[in-house]
Symmetry: C2
Subunit: 357 residues, 2 copies
């Protein structure tokens, strides 16, 4: 640390991303990426002429991408702002709306980026524990006096709230912003986007990193009523006026327009998820009923860390969180059927003692 | 504006980017882009496999790009952090170092993004007027009690400080950060990067948007001593952990490694700049001695706005700033020789009255 870092950041803890080891080739089931390439139409959108066109600035408002996202969701263009990944959307929402002295309420077990952002921005993070069954405590989120951020489905549990539950929270907090992070919504959840006309305190955040196979392109967006999005866009424009590069915008437009490809990828993940969950249960795992592109599972004979380390040694990466309440679990991204077969085979060997812990 | 925007942002003025009109094809000499495509090696770096690889997250620390930039400048990898455009680098530097109660000093006429950032972050912006000849008032920047941000060369004047002048400011402010924004350094200025080992309060910010013809790829970086960059990176990681997309990283590495192409592009711009400045002077313009990729010029018989509007009508875009002291000027980006010939031809016709004001 230099002597120049502002005093307010001396204690902050940056975000810990899933590991990306370079020592060997792994089957990567640790960062909830898609096993499929992006839509062929997205790949075709990157022409030589487009790359040469990088000499010009990107569109500061990424209008084509906003339009395409709005069309996909039946929104008006003024209700969408595209961002450099959904992390940027979360950061901008926290900055724009949560600086009035209130804090932000989030579950104790959720996306680790929320407390990091609160730390950076000096916001009080009210931590509301999940219930014993790892579901979100809706009553507690109705009772909070703070703004709310919820991942729906939640990570790393994969459990989702219904629209009716989300509406309870929205109605109970009319003077507070409710940010719903729908990174994993496409795999079986109900998006809150159709609620936007009804609630002026709702912001939905989504990403192209998961179901659209574009984690490396850094594309996300925020959606909400026009007045909210005007505020949001003003903050975006004041912090990074050209936030999305030209190629990602082109890729994003093509990807969001290729609905068939999205649906095919999602259907495959949902099928493989069911297959994997079933197989893990047969091996004695408790598997939470995830509707995301990952499973959260524990085995009575293994700690989460043992399982994670044994798999890593065998070339399979899953994610383990060394944190109270979920220490026994591993979060396993749903890859291709072949990748999950290998995971299951290794898991069986670990349980049989054929792979040492 | 919604009722939810934090009170502290109610008065902020977002950044006004150069216009990008879509009504017709213009000769764009208004946003200091390069007339040349990016390096052919950068174009080749975008393979189909690379685009398909977007299914995986980008490297959160963009290590390959940091290494390439460090190698180019003779720095250690730990002294460089790559960013999503240099605007992000500026924002992160302001956030990281300038939150201790001090403000930021900047010239009254400079890059319009500095006061925008100060507004967003609630930082006091000490405005130090340029001297009568439009040069930076070095003595005043030595006397400030605030942090310092300077564009060198300055925009829109194109005038630069020498390394000796920069050192005076660095020495005079040992407890304050001095951010040097070198967006236009490659066209004839002296970079402060070689001063990094000597000054622990120096941060140099650069962009790939100008001399490397990559405005649309959003690539910038900050450089400084290791301890400063550790702080900077911690803030980056807390605000947007995956700030650079995979394709831009690949493109950036190829571009920075192609030094010959950079030098050829810069040489061409420098030649065309001299040609254009000379021709404008012959037409009666006062032209500041710019060492950037633009000229700042005024004519006794035209207001800046008249000249800008007449050119726009004729399909040539330049930039006019409706601001005291520089209202008479137009900022003219250096395009290709052919583009500048058209500009000069139109200018001559305007002065002869053959094009109506």
């Amino acid at each position: 640390m230099s002597g120049f870092l502002s005093y307010r950041y001396r204690e902050i803890e940056p975000y810990t991303a899933g590991e990306q080891p370079q020592d060997r080739q792994y089957i990567k089931l640790n960062t909830n990426e898609s096993p499929f390439p992006p839509s062929p139409k997205a790949v075709e959108a990157v022409t030589k002429a487009a790359v040469e066109g990088l000499k010009l600035y990107s569109d500061p408002v990424s209008r084509k991408l906003r339009k395409a996202i709005a069309a996909f969701w039946g929104l008006d263009e003024s209700e969408v702002v595209a961002t450099n990944g959904s992390d940027e959307a979360l950061a901008l929402a926290f900055i724009a709306y949560c600086g009035g002295g209130e804090g932000i309420a989030s579950p104790d077990i959720s996306y680790g980026f929320y407390p990091v952002l609160c730390g950076l921005l000096g916001l009080d993070n009210e931590v509301i524990p999940l219930k014993k069954d790892f579901t979100i405590d809706v009553d507690a989120f109705c009772a909070t006096k703070n703004h709310v951020v919820l991942a729906n489905p939640n990570a790393p549990t994969g459990l989702a709230l219904s629209l009716a539950q989300m509406e309870r929270i929205l109605v109970a907090n009319p003077d507070r912003i409710v940010i719903v992070d729908e990174a994993y919504i496409d795999y079986g959840g109900q998006s809150c986007i159709p609620l936007i006309p009804k609630y002026n305190n709702l912001i939905v955040v989504q990403t192209f990193s998961k179901s659209r196979s574009l984690a490396g392109a850094r594309i996300g967006f925020a959606a909400g009523q026009k007045a909210l999005m005007e505020d949001f866009d003003k903050i975006r424009d004041s912090l990074n006026p050209y936030n999305i590069n030209t190629l990602s915008e082109r890729i994003g437009v093509a990807a969001v327009e290729d609905k068939n490809y999205l649906e095919a990828c999602v259907a495959e993940i949902v099928k493989t998820r069911a297959y994997t969950a079933n197989a893990l249960q047969k091996l004695g795992f408790e598997v939470l009923p995830s509707i995301a592109n990952f499973l959260f599972a524990r085995h009575p004979k293994l700690t989460g860390k043992q399982y994670y380390l044994a798999l890593k040694k065998e070339g399979v990466l899953v994610r383990h969180f060394d944190k109270d309440r979920i220490r026994d679990f591993a979060r396993i991204s749903i890859g291709s059927r072949e990748e999950m077969e290998i995971l299951l085979e290794k898991t069986e060997k670990i349980l049989k003692g054929e792979i040492a812990l």
